[in-house]
């Protein structure tokens, strides 16, 4: 929330003595406020609370950086930025300047101070480590006068310094280096704000520069405090000619001296290894006079060259048979989005609007014994304190489109840490939060069940004791996997052929276990809803993708008719599946229902990840190949952690089973996916779900199979891929794509078989077919106005994908007008017709088709109207894109309307819909999506760090209605999924999510982009959408991880079976490689799967046709 919850005072002393007195008088309730970047952050997160901040920035002279005798004195209030820019520092201490210039981000560097950093003593910060090598001295002032503290004695522990009460850091003196002294520093950093290791070294040489006569060696960010090792320093002394022989021992001593932590950043063993690598590189580099960059040792291609090539690759000739379609017209939402006038949910304020805050369960599994809300209710400004028991008069207390298992507020028990238990409604959000902190809840804890393995074992504690109702929109989801009385949620099976017979025939069999991590979508915009429930009807402004399914959830909760529920979705700050179905809308609605005023609920990012995350997949996969090298059998067993509520996990499970098949000509397939309820944050949709889960095992094993057969992995795929128009999946839509041609394009794009990669650089590919498009249901209305302009009413939400531009282009094309003459509605159930959802790459092809049909409806009406005007049979009249024509006669739209209705500004409205029955949309899937991705990576063979050099893909899209928006989807999804390949993984530590924040869960940043990106856009007009377009947007997301895993094998000879491919995992894979560990042991269906088989008495019916 954009406000601190607990008020504090600001004191502004004029002198250090006064500041010191203020601190002493406050007795721990006051803190020095310097830059505040770490202090305010921690206070905002609730980690620290002070009544007073003593702002010492008003004391003059504390921010000066200036020579002071044999040292350079850095004022405690000098910002990181000013130190990095200081000419004196840059000249005397280039590494300090570089370190200060790369701390956190430019905003932190402009505000945060070196002094504040040292006094905060956050263990993952690195300046103190470098200052140890410099023998810096800290000057402090306190009640007993001034004193000087060597930096070595200053940081004495995690968040702990040698400062006595009332003492304040004044300046940091960094002694100038002698002419023969060298200093070097390296930081290992996987998260922007958290270096995981810093290594600093100083070498003092004799006058001949042949002998090291003095040294410093320090390590930080990997232990509770930065540490020097005198043993290591002693080992570095001596002749530089023989230094290489002493470094390893020195590094071992340095690692021994530090209390290296085994934590989320990495194991102590890996940190020890890195200390060895970096101490050697620093010493050798320093002796050669090198000043390397701090961070990943990557040489980036010049940006102008990279962007120039990327832009050139996007150029294409627009199709001659359209005037609007096929053009990269600027988005219609450009101006509002670059001027700050585009309205998102959190920007909306309503008269009398109150604010709600949520108290969440601190435990994973417990019965609620009591909730004491009295103290919270007594806080002035609090309007209501709501618990689950207050909802009993509602028609329903649970919601969910597939299974109604999602609580609005916990009822008798809590089923995960983070579940909403109490809502406090108050005049403002800070008051609501303070009051929520006063609610007392007594829990009787139950045994938590954190993994699907635990949840599916016989006799596991039951998470949901009652069978739940089936929801209002189970749709095509297989409900037979849910077994009441167990924690089993899904059991999805895809089978055809005889798997045993096929494996018996197979000459080569390859097996392996793989893991795709639990992840978090992190849309930039967190969940927010504003509900106004008054007068027997409710309006909700919200951040959703599924306006109309949420409408039904709300109607079902309150027993309201659909017409009395209005869901209005303004601009949405990214969806990617995370905003599909209902999230905070029910809570906002019940808050408003209780207080009779509009209520806004804005979640933090931390609360957002506790509302919905994405599922993981533990996979065992087996491939059978016949004597001709033909792929004949694929068998898989998959376990997924669905979390505490089903949300859309059932479809994720189903799509994992179908998307694991792959575009190959299997004789037999046997894929089984199970998911289970657990006491974790609910798992649901994330862009490309099922595809991402299926392709990592599928496409890595494809490379492994090729390697075992001794054939080229691309050639091997080409031999086995499905041909265009082949019914490779019995009963499904034929494959309307040439995947082989697409693979050849991508392989060519990364120079497969033509360019030789340098050492430690490699290439890889990955591909998949996805059954995209979701349920083909939707309708649109189009109005053609008397002046020729057009209004389009569609329920599709603008999530950033550009639907309001592309759908408007369809109407503009059909009526021969410019895009500036078309207005398109926001997704608003009070205005726009029903749309099933916005997701699954369905909007352009499905809503676009309904708009096309609505335009055709108008044209038909126009022909009839013109027939009356011209007194001619309608059959003689044709509708063009500009008006009606009869022989040589032509009448523009506006004239038809004016002459027929007798006034100028009348309108004609048309409607269009699609449905899955009795139509061309009946065949599943509505659209195959067949992404192919090629990657080139370069790796550090010692540290396991890697970075992407090229990322190339295919968008086989039928027709790009707006090419820039179309391939923009690919650029976005390629980089988004790069995050999962690199470092994204949600981690549970016991019952708690340990990294559910933007600080702990780092998504890709600009520094991660490769030197080369390109999307081959394939346009064969072979899809079901308008003008032959096909589903597009998610696809390439699915195959980045396997392409990179395969490229890392090409580069380093390692097999990576578990994403993300963190440097530590790559390092361990190198150790396995060197030890000759077989990544593909043939062990058969694993025990972790067999242990779930006791529930087979609920055996579902296999579904050869998928879902």
């Amino acid at each position: 929330m954009p406000h601190f919850t607990h008020p504090f005072r600001i004191a502004q002393p004029a002198t250090l003595a006064e500041a010191s007195r203020l601190l002493l008088d406050a007795d721990g309730a006051a803190a020095v406020y310097a830059g505040g970047s770490e202090l305010l952050l921690t206070m905002k997160q609730g980690g620290l609370r002070y009544d007073t901040l003593v702002d010492i920035k008003t004391i003059p002279g504390l921010d000066v950086v200036a020579p002071a005798g044999a040292a350079i004195s850095i004022g405690a209030l000098a910002t990181h930025r000013s130190i990095a820019k200081s000419a004196a520092v840059r000249t005397a201490f280039p590494f300090l300047a570089r370190l200060e210039g790369t701390i956190a981000n430019p905003r932190v560097r402009a505000t945060g101070t070196l002094g504040g950093n040292l006094c905060f003593a956050e263990p993952h910060s690195d300046p103190a480590t470098l200052l140890l090598a410099h023998d810096a001295v800290l000057h402090v002032s306190g009640p007993d006068g001034d004193r000087a503290i060597p930096v070595m004695d200053f940081t004495i522990g995690s968040y702990t310094t040698a400062l006595e009460p009332g003492e304040i850091l004044r300046s940091i003196d960094v002694p100038r280096l002698g002419a023969n002294s060298l200093v070097a520093y390296q930081r290992v950093q996987q998260l922007e704000h958290r270096p995981m290791l810093g290594v600093a070294v100083r070498l003092d040489l004799d006058d001949a520069r042949r002998v090291i006569v003095g040294s410093r060696a320090a390590v930080g960010a990997a232990a509770p405090q930065p540490t020097r090792s005198e043993a290591a320093e002693a080992l570095l002394l001596g002749d530089i000619a023989s230094i290489d022989a002493r470094i390893a021992e020195a590094a071992a001593a340095l690692a021994d001296a530090a209390d290296l932590l085994d934590d989320a950043d990495g194991s102590a063993a890996y940190k020890r290894h890195l200390i060895g690598v970096h101490l050697r590189r620093l010493v050798q580099g320093a002796l050669k006079g090198e000043i390397p960059q701090i961070g990943v040792p990557r040489k980036r291609r010049p940006l102008e060259a990279m962007i120039g090539e990327w832009q050139h690759g996007r150029e294409r000739t627009p199709p001659a048979d359209f005037k609007v379609i096929g053009r990269s017209l600027p988005r219609t939402d450009g101006r509002p989005k670059v001027t700050g006038t585009a309205v998102y949910t959190a920007d909306i304020s309503l008269p009398q609007m109150a604010h709600a805050k949520v108290l969440r369960s601190p435990v994973g599994h417990a019965r609620i014994l009591s909730i004491d809300v009295e103290a919270a209710k007594a806080v002035p400004g609090v309007l209501d304190v709501i618990t689950g028991q207050d909802l009993l008069t509602l028609r329903r207390q649970l919601f969910g489109h597939a299974y109604r298992d999602n609580t609005i507020l916990a009822m008798e028990k809590v089923v995960y840490a983070g579940e909403a238990v109490v809502a406090v409604v108050a005049e403002d959000a800070a008051t609501a939060q303070r009051a929520a902190d006063l609610v007392e809840i007594a829990y009787d804890e139950l045994e938590p069940v954190m993994t699907p393995e635990q949840a599916l074992r016989e006799g596991a504690p039951l998470i949901h004791e009652e069978p739940h109702e089936i929801g209002h929109a189970p749709g095509h989801i297989n409900l037979e996997g849910r077994a009441p009385g167990t924690n089993r949620l899904t059991n999805d099976i895809v089978q055809w052929g005889n798997i045993d017979e096929a494996f018996a025939r197979a000459k080569t069999i390859v097996e392996g276990e793989y893991y795709y991590p639990m992840s978090f979508v992190y849309t930039m915009e967190p969940y927010a809803s504003i509900a106004d429930y008054r007068g027997g009807e409710v309006t909700i402004h919200t951040t959703g993708q599924h306006t109309y399914t949420t409408r039904r959830d709300i109607a079902d909760i309150f027993g309201l008719p659909l017409s009395k529920v209005r869901i209005a979705t303004p601009y949405v700050g990214g969806g990617f599946g995370a905003k599909s179905y209902s999230k905070v809308e029910p809570l906002a609605a019940v808050c408003s229902w209780r207080v009779g005023r509009p209520v806004k609920v804005e979640l933090t990012v931390e609360e957002t990840v506790l509302t919905t995350r994405a599922l993981d997949a533990r996979v065992w996969l087996k491939t059978g190949v016949d004597e001709h090298g033909r792929l004949i059998a694929r068998q898989a067993r998959v376990l997924m952690n669905a979390g505490a509520f089903s949300q859309n996990a059932m479809l994720v499970s189903a799509k994992t089973s179908t998307r694991m098949v792959g575009p190959y000509n299997w004789d037999a397939v046997d894929i089984q996916v199970r998911s289970a309820y657990t006491n974790t944050s609910p798992g649901s949709s994330y862009r490309g779900f099922g595809g991402v889960h299926g392709s990592l095992p599928g496409e890595v094993q494809m490379d492994e199979t090729a390697e075992i057969l001794g054939v080229d992995p691309v050639e091997y795929r080409l031999q086995n891929l499905v041909e265009r128009d082949h019914e490779f999946w019995p009963g499904k839509r034929r494959l309307h794509a040439d995947v082989k041609a697409n693979l050849r394009m991508v392989a060519g794009g990364i120079g497969w078989g033509t360019t030789v990669e340098p050492e430690n650089t490699g290439k890889g590919v990955g591909l998949i077919v996805m059954d995209s498009g979701a349920v083909p249901i939707g309708r649109s209305e189009v109005r053609l106005h008397g002046d020729g302009s057009v209004t389009v009413l569609t329920g599709a939400a603008e999530l950033g994908q550009g639907s309001r531009t592309v759908l408007a282009m369809v109407a503009a094309e059909e009526f021969g007008v410019g895009l500036d003459k078309v207005r398109i509605s926001m997704s608003d159930s009070g205005v726009a017709p029903y749309a099933r959802s916005t997701g699954a790459d369905r909007t352009t092809i499905m809503e676009g088709s309904t708009i096309l049909l609505a335009c055709q409806d108008i044209k038909q009406q126009m022909r009839d109207m013109a027939a009356e005007i011209w007194s001619a049979p309608a059959a003689d009249i044709t509708a063009t894109n500009d008006g009606v024509q009869r022989g040589q006669l032509f009448m523009p739209w506006s004239e038809v309307i004016e002459r027929y209705f007798t006034i100028q500004d009348m309108e004609v409205s048309g409607r269009g819909h699609i449905r899955p029955k009795n139509s061309e949309w009946a065949l599943i899937p509505p659209s195959w999506e067949n992404p192919v991705v090629g990657a080139r990576v370069e790796a550090d063979p010692e540290t396991g760090e890697w970075w992407v050099k090229s990322l190339i893909d295919v968008a086989d899209i039928g027709l790009a209605l707006n090419p820039t928006l179309a391939d923009g989807m690919d650029t976005g999804s390629l980089i988004q999924s790069l995050g999962i390949a690199m470092r994204e993984e949600l981690i549970y530590d016991g019952q708690q999510l340990s990294n559910g924040s933007v600080l702990g869960y780092r998504v890709p940043e600009m520094a991660d982009i490769p030197d080369q990106m390109h999307t081959f856009v394939v346009e064969n007009r072979d899809g079901m959408g308008p003008y032959g377009s096909k589903a597009h947007g998610d696809g390439s997301m699915s195959v980045v991880a396997p392409a990179i895993a395969n490229a890392l094998h090409d580069a380093l000879g390692v097999r990576l079976h578990r994403a993300p491919f963190t440097p530590e995992r790559v390092w361990k894979a190198m150790l396995d490689r060197d030890a000759g560990v077989n990544p593909n042991p043939t062990a058969g269906i694993p025990d972790w799967w067999k242990a779930t088989d006791w529930t087979d008495r609920h055996a579902p019916k296999p579904s050869g046709k998928g879902h």
Partner: protein, 175 residues
């Protein structure tokens, strides 16, 4: 003092309000605020400037970036009172006086450097600060500077294209 503050908080009474006089988007503003409030709150709630977005709220994502005296700041963790007497620039202040888009805004439109638009105000301001700084011509510095702002939609490449276009425009206008 601890008890007093806690009491006043729990009794709903807030510490004394202060009046912040600052320049926002070129216009002098005097606004009543709590001494403990973040600038993002002052801008969004008290001044109605909702173009500044809140995402991580802990200075890591850049969505709430504003410029104070020309330097980018995370308004989520920048105390409003610190803006006393300073110049604050938000996305609403980027348009030129005649209502035309600034070169940075135009570059983001031309290069399709946005999709959902939620990170865009912060991206625009980060770019605005970058292209007038000495870091603008150093590619590594450009990447380092812009890596402080997260975007989930575009894959950054179109944003890099926009930054380069804006950098050229700034260089051209300097002559």
């Amino acid at each position: 003092m601890a008890e007093q503050a806690a009491e006043s908080a729990e009794a709903g009474g807030l510490p004394e309000k202060i009046t912040i006089q600052m320049t926002v988007n070129g216009r002098p503003v005097a606004v009543e605020a709590d001494p403990w409030e973040a600038l993002s709150h002052t801008l969004r709630t008290r001044l109605g400037l909702t173009g500044t977005k809140i995402s991580c709220d802990v200075q890591a994502c850049g969505a709430c970036t504003v410029l104070v005296d020309g330097l980018p700041r995370s308004s989520c963790t920048y105390l409003a009172y610190e803006a006393q007497g300073r110049e604050v620039l938000t996305v609403e202040g980027l348009e030129t006086a005649d209502g035309s888009l600034s070169p940075v805004q135009q570059a983001f439109i031309d290069q399709s450097g946005y999709q959902c638009g939620y990170c865009t105000p912060g991206m625009l301001l980060a770019t605005h600060a970058l292209i007038t700084s000495e870091d603008a011509d150093d590619d590594d510095a450009v990447i380092e500077h812009m890596s402080g702002n997260l975007c989930r939609c575009t894959g950054y490449v179109p944003i890099v294209a926009a930054v380069l276009q804006a950098r050229k425009a700034a260089a051209a206008s300097r002559g």
